[in-house]
C-alpha cells in the first residue's frame, strides 16, 4: 500500500469569477504503517488538500495515485454524522461488514459503549468526534485521513482522545494522514511532518522522525518541538 501525491496546483473561482490559488506544488509519498502529518497555518488549504487525497475533489492539476482497492476511512473536521441514525447505525452504515466483537472493542476503546443507541443530537462535540473516529476505524481502512480531530476540545479531553487515536493507529498497518495546527499533536502522532506555507500552499519542510512513535520520550518530544518551532518560524 502506498500513496503517491504529485499535485501541481489547485485553484477556485469565487462567485465574482476571480481565481484563487489554494495549492501550489505539493508532492510526497506515504507508505503503509506510516503517519504523515500535514501542519500549516489555518486557511492554508489543508482541508482542500485532504479532499483531493480522499477523491472528493477531482478538479486539480497533477495526480494522486492510490493502491488499487485501498479502503478509505475519514474523520472530517466536523463529525458529519447522520443525525437521524443512532451512533451504532452511523458506524454500521459506513462499515456494514464490521464484526460485532471488533465494534465492541472499538466502542470500548473510545468510551462509547454507553452511547450506542443515542442519536448524534444527544452527544457532546467530544463524543460526536469519537463516533466519527469509530466510524473511520470500523471500516478497517488502508488509508486513514484525520482532519483536525482534536480541534476545539478542551486540553484534558484532547489529550485522552490523542492517546486513543495513537493506540488505534498503532493497531493496524495503514497509511494515516493527520491534519493539525498543534505542533505537540504533530510530534507525538506523526512519523513524517509536512510543513505547509500560507496560501497558495506548498511544502516548506519535511521532517522525518526516525524514533518509533511508542518509543519517543518526553525529552525527545520537547527537543523536537523546540527545534521545529525555530525552524518553522524561520521559513514563515
Amino acid at each position: 500500500m502506498q500513496l503517491e501525491v504529485d499535485i501541481k496546483g489547485k485553484s477556485f473561482e469565487n462567485a465574482a469569477g476571480k481565481r484563487h490559488d489554494v495549492l501550489d506544488r505539493i508532492a510526497f509519498t506515504l507508505s503503509a504503517g506510516e503517519v504523515g502529518v500535514v501542519f500549516g497555518p489555518s486557511g492554508c488549504g489543508k482541508s482542500t488538500l485532504l479532499k483531493i487525497l480522499a477523491g472528493l475533489d477531482r478538479n486539480y492539476l497533477g495526480r494522486v495515485v492510490h493502491s488499487a482497492g485501498a479502503r478509505l476511512g475519514m474523520v472530517f473536521q466536523e463529525p458529519r454524522l447522520l443525525p437521524w441514525r443512532s451512533v451504532e447505525e452511523n458506524v454500521r452504515l459506513a462499515a456494514p461488514d464490521v464484526a460485532d466483537g471488533t465494534l465492541s472493542t472499538l466502542f470500548d476503546v473510545l468510551e462509547l459503549s454507553a452511547h450506542r443507541s443515542h442519536f448524534p443530537g444527544e452527544l457532546s462535540l467530544g463524543l460526536a468526534r469519537r463516533v466519527a473516529l469509530a466510524r473511520a476505524f470500523a471500516v478497517e481502512p488502508d488509508f486513514l485521513i484525520l482532519d483536525e480531530p482534536l480541534a476545539s476540545l478542551d486540553n484534558a479531553l484532547a489529550g485522552r482522545l490523542r492517546d486513543q487515536i495513537a493506540a488505534l493507529v498503532a493497531s493496524r498497518a495503514m497509511m494515516t494522514l493527520l491534519v493539525t495546527h498543534d505542533l505537540d499533536d504533530a510530534v507525538r502522532l506523526g512519523d513524517r511532518l509536512l510543513f505547509l506555507s500560507a496560501r497558495p500552499a506548498r511544502i516548506l519542510h519535511v521532517e522525518t522522525i526516525t524514533t518509533p512513535r511508542a518509543a519517543r520520550s518526553e525529552q525527545d518530544i520537547e527537543a523536537l518541538k523546540s527545534r521545529l518551532s525555530q525552524l518553522d518560524l524561520a521559513n514563515m
Binding site: K51, A54, G55, L56, R71, L72, G73, M74, F76, E78, R80, L82, P83, W84, R85, L93, A94, A95, F119, G121, E122, R135, V139, I145
Partner: protein, 245 residues
C-alpha cells in the same frame, strides 16, 4: 378531550344557526344524521365514499411519486431546473377547472381522465416543495457518503431520504388537502358516482340534508385519515428530533 369539546361546540353552533335561519336553508343535525343513515343503509354512502377515496388515493400516489422525482431532479440538476421551470410556473397557475375540463374533452368522461386531471393539479406543488428540499441537501453529508464509498441505494435511503422527509411530509400534507378539494370538482363534472357527484345531485334537487350528509361524511373520513395516518407518520419521521435534548 379538547377535540371532543371543540366538536360539541361545532354541533351547538350549527344547531343554533339552523334555528335562526330556518330548516329549509340549514337543517338541524338530527335531520342530516337521518339522511346520512338512510344513505348508509342503502349502501350508497359507502359506495360513493369508496369511489372518491379510490380516486384520491390513485391521484395522490401518482402526483406524489412523479412530483417528488421531478422535484428532486430539478433541485439537483441545474439543466433540469432551467428546462422545467417554465412548465412548472404554467402548471402552478393553471386553474384546476381548466385542467379538468380539458382532460374530459380530450380523454372523454373516463376514470383515467379524472385521475389524471386531479394528479396534474397536485403535481406542481409537490415538485416545488421537493425541489426546495433537494436544494437544501447537505453537501457535507454527501461527501461523507462518498468518502465511505456508500453504494447509491444506501446513500439514498439513509442520507438523502431522511433529509427530504420533512419536505415530502409537507408536500403530502398540502397535496392531500388540495386533492380532497379537486376530486369533488372532477366528480361533479364528469363522473357517475362519488361524493362530488352526489353533492351535484343534491344541489340540483335542493336537497340540503343530503348535501350536508355527504359533505360531513367526507369531512369525517378526511379527519380520520389525518389523525390515523398523516399525523403518526409525521411523528415517526421526526422521532430523532424529539429525542434530542
Amino acid at each position: 378531550m379538547l377535540r371532543l369539546l371543540s366538536f360539541a361546540l361545532f354541533i351547538a353552533t350549527w344547531w343554533i344557526a339552523s334555528l335562526l335561519v330556518g330548516d329549509a336553508k340549514l337543517p338541524p343535525p338530527p335531520v342530516v344524521l337521518a339522511a346520512m343513515t338512510a344513505e348508509a343503509r342503502s349502501g350508497a354512502l359507502f359506495l360513493n365514499l369508496g369511489a372518491t377515496l379510490a380516486r384520491v388515493a390513485l391521484a395522490f400516489t401518482l402526483a406524489m411519486t412523479l412530483g417528488s422525482a421531478i422535484g428532486y431532479l430539478m433541485g439537483r440538476v441545474r439543466l433540469a431546473d432551467r428546462l422545467g421551470d417554465p412548465w412548472l410556473i404554467l402548471l402552478l397557475n393553471l386553474p384546476a377547472l381548466v385542467v379538468i375540463v380539458l382532460a374530459y374533452i380530450w380523454a372523454g368522461l373516463t376514470e383515467v381522465a379524472a385521475i389524471f386531471a386531479i394528479a396534474i393539479n397536485k403535481l406542481p406543488t409537490a415538485v416545488v416543495t421537493l425541489r426546495e428540499g433537494a436544494r437544501a441537501l447537505d453537501p457535507a453529508l454527501d461527501e461523507m457518503a462518498t468518502a465511505f464509498a456508500f453504494p447509491r441505494g444506501r446513500t439514498f435511503r439513509h442520507v438523502i431520504l431522511p433529509q427530504l422527509a420533512p419536505y415530502i411530509a409537507a408536500a403530502a400534507r398540502s397535496g392531500l388537502s388540495l386533492v380532497w378539494k379537486i376530486v369533488l370538482v372532477a366528480e361533479l363534472l364528469g363522473r357517475p358516482n362519488g361524493v362530488g357527484f352526489e353533492i351535484g345531485v343534491a344541489f340540483q334537487l335542493f336537497d340540503i340534508p343530503l348535501l350536508l350528509a355527504y359533505s360531513l361524511s367526507f369531512a369525517a373520513v378526511v379527519l380520520v385519515i389525518e389523525t390515523l395516518l398523516v399525523q403518526p407518520f409525521e411523528t415517526r419521521l421526526s422521532r430523532w428530533r424529539l429525542r434530542a435534548a
